[in-house]
Symmetry: C2
Subunit: 407 residues, 2 copies
């Protein structure tokens, strides 16, 4: 088999962990597999480099930030390769550009445009384990560009797709994808399998074990993906295309996000272009808007509510203050003591009554729902932050998750 293994920053945080990873990689290689390894920067390296940059400049140029940050992965891929040599394994490190990864050249958030696999193939053919620096590639002019945070997952899936790998293993510090956060719900269990779409929803809900870009890429190219722990040999969670078969549960997991703030505008004009004006102004400030709710129209006027992450609240309120007159709002309100709880499951597409069951469970706990948003495989509710963890436990029990999966 040809296997791509990706190890995150905590898995290579120090020399000891790097040696452990080397042992695991070498064992994989010794089972007659070809192995390509993708590594993130060690531990807090990226944050330390960002901090260093900000000591020099409050707003560093994206090109120079990429030149700076790309060193983090270069360090860890060189060190892991040395550790592999130490175990007796033949290995070579390649930076993203050396590995043939090309991007669209957008500094700080480049998209991978291709992988020229000749060098990778040659090193594999020479019997080598190839250790690739994640998170980076060469722009059209040969400059170093980074893929943005979480980009190492994307590197791994892109390499797996380009090499037509048999398996892409994403190693992290948890055992896989859980039915809920085990710190909140002791009964939470690991899911043996999850669909790409469910994984995407969970990732966007803050239960991030895998970057959504990587999941989308894996889905598009049909890359077989496993999320598993670098701390043990447990089998992890397989992320694969939902085949609709053997679906025993409507809901696969319950997610929560405490980093939520809500803003509401009253009596906005019900005219074309109004919503665009508001959300374009927010986008111009690079504020990521999550849920958007627009209520029923009364007297040619609407209420619009939306959520943002709490760190963006101040910036978002400044935008609202500026545009409220232009959108004809009579006022606005905000609340940073809210949370979002969500149920996710490919099974709910075909099962009516899932939303009703969710609302019933929250109601039975006396929890008030402030906003609701639904997709085909997800229902999210904004509630008071103080009630969030109780809500998660109630929903986990309601949908029969206390008793499934592996422990």
């Amino acid at each position: 088999m040809l296997i791509v293994q990706k190890f995150g920053g905590s898995s290579v945080a120090n020399a000891h962990r790097i040696k452990e990873v080397a042992g695991r990689v070498w064992r994989t290689r010794q089972r007659n597999n070809e192995v390509v390894v993708v590594v993130s920067a060690m531990g807090d390296t990226t944050d330390e480099l960002i901090n260093l940059a900000h000591q020099v400049s409050p707003d560093p140029s994206p090109r120079e930030m990429d030149q700076l940050l790309a060193t983090g992965e270069q360090v860890s891929c060189a060190l892991l390769t040395m550790a592999l040599h130490e175990t007796g394994a033949p290995a070579i490190s390649l930076t993203g550009p050396q590995a043939g990864i090309t991007t669209d050249g957008v500094y700080g958030k480049a998209a991978i445009t291709g992988v020229a696999v000749a060098r990778l193939r040659a090193e594999l053919a020479a019997g080598k384990i190839v250790v690739v620096a994640g998170f980076q590639g060469a722009g059209p002019d040969g400059d170093i560009t980074t893929l943005g945070r979480g980009g190492s997952d994307t590197t791994a899936v892109a390499l797996a797709a380009a090499l037509k790998a048999d398996l892409c293993e994403i190693y992290t510090d948890v055992d896989g994808v859980f039915t809920a956060d085990p710190r909140v719900v002791p009964e939470a269990s690991k899911l043996p399998v999850i669909s790409h779409d469910e994984m995407l929803e969970l990732a966007s809900l803050g239960a991030v074990v895998l970057h959504p870009r990587a999941v989308e890429l894996a889905k598009f190219y049909g890359v077989p993906l496993v999320v598993r722990s670098s701390l043990n040999d447990n089998p992890g969670t397989v992320v694969k295309e939902d085949d609709g078969m053997e679906r025993t549960h409507m809901v696969s997991g319950v997610a929560h996000d405490l980093n939520v703030a809500k803003i509401g505008l009253f009596d906005v004009l019900d005219q074309p272009g109004i919503a665009h004006r508001l959300f374009a102004a927010l986008a111009a400030e690079k504020i990521n808007v999550d849920m958007i709710i627009q209520g029923a129209t009364r007297n040619g006027r609407n209420d619009i509510a939306f959520t943002v992450s709490r760190s963006d609240l101040k910036k978002a309120l400044a935008v609202v203050e500026r545009v409220q007159e232009a959108v004809g709002a009579k006022g606005y309100t905000y609340d940073d003591q809210v949370a979002k709880v969500s149920i996710v499951g490919a099974g709910m597409i075909t099962r009516p009554g899932v939303a009703a069951a969710m609302f019933e469970a929250l109601s039975a706990e006396g929890i008030n729902i402030e906003m609701i948003s639904t997709s085909e495989i997800k229902i999210s509710c904004v509630i008071k932050e103080s009630e969030a963890l109780r809500a998660v436990r109630a929903l986990h029990a309601k949908f029969g998750l206390d008793s499934i999966g592996e422990r």
Copy 2:
């Protein structure tokens, strides 16, 4: 003018120093100069990376060491570029490979084979200050290779030569080249001018302000070189071809080296190949031998003495122990309490009696000479370490250096 400026690790040791360097570079640019900057890694970065590597592997592969170490200069060139942007200066950072620097591909101690200046010229033509990562270049297969310690000086001179720069300024934390170590000889003064050959001798004597490879390269290509301080605006020392004119002093400086150990072999066979056998064995262990003295032959036998750095003494003694029988030695001795004092000056080629004056000065101080070695522009004596500093002061006075140069 087109000026290449090189800043060493201590000049870019932290954000504050980096900003100071940016100010200096920008002022140079504003005086209507084109500027290319070469930087070393910040402060102790290279040592920290080496330490990290040794935590993973006692003997890391040279290729992976280069992949690792090259990040140090990449970090500092990105940070200096950000600091330049902050001052309002147009600037761009380039790694060694991006700057078109190619090498012979020997990991860890690559030699520069060429500089493809197209990118450098284009960025300069666009009005940019170009900040190049020192110490590195691309090998024949595109892999990153480092030039070895002190390689950033070589990078600067190579770029100056390739761009036909009007001036190459090497910034360091001293004011220039002195007639002796000012910590030992308070009367020591800065030399306004020194010849390439004198600089080479001083560099090899441990009074290193400029890497000897860089001096040789500058000499070969006729690159105008200045060594000056990054802490003030003093003019520094100009390193240039000796033109034999206006030479007022036989001796330009007195150097000393306390990191010396001496080994002597008694009664070695006086046959062809004997010296080769000994010194080849030492070279095979990568022991750098400095002075070598072979005395007059008596009865078909010789005494051979040589010096090594103290850190190599133990390894060197093991080699001697192993080969002494093969070279027919009757025994050996060693001393690690010795030092080397040297006088250097292009003027001594044409002036007889310089050696005699040196020996007279040492004799007047009651200092015994244990070994003597001479070149066209240098005379070195090995003496007791405890007498070294007294010897330096006596020689500095003897050759009239207490009263020349700038203070």
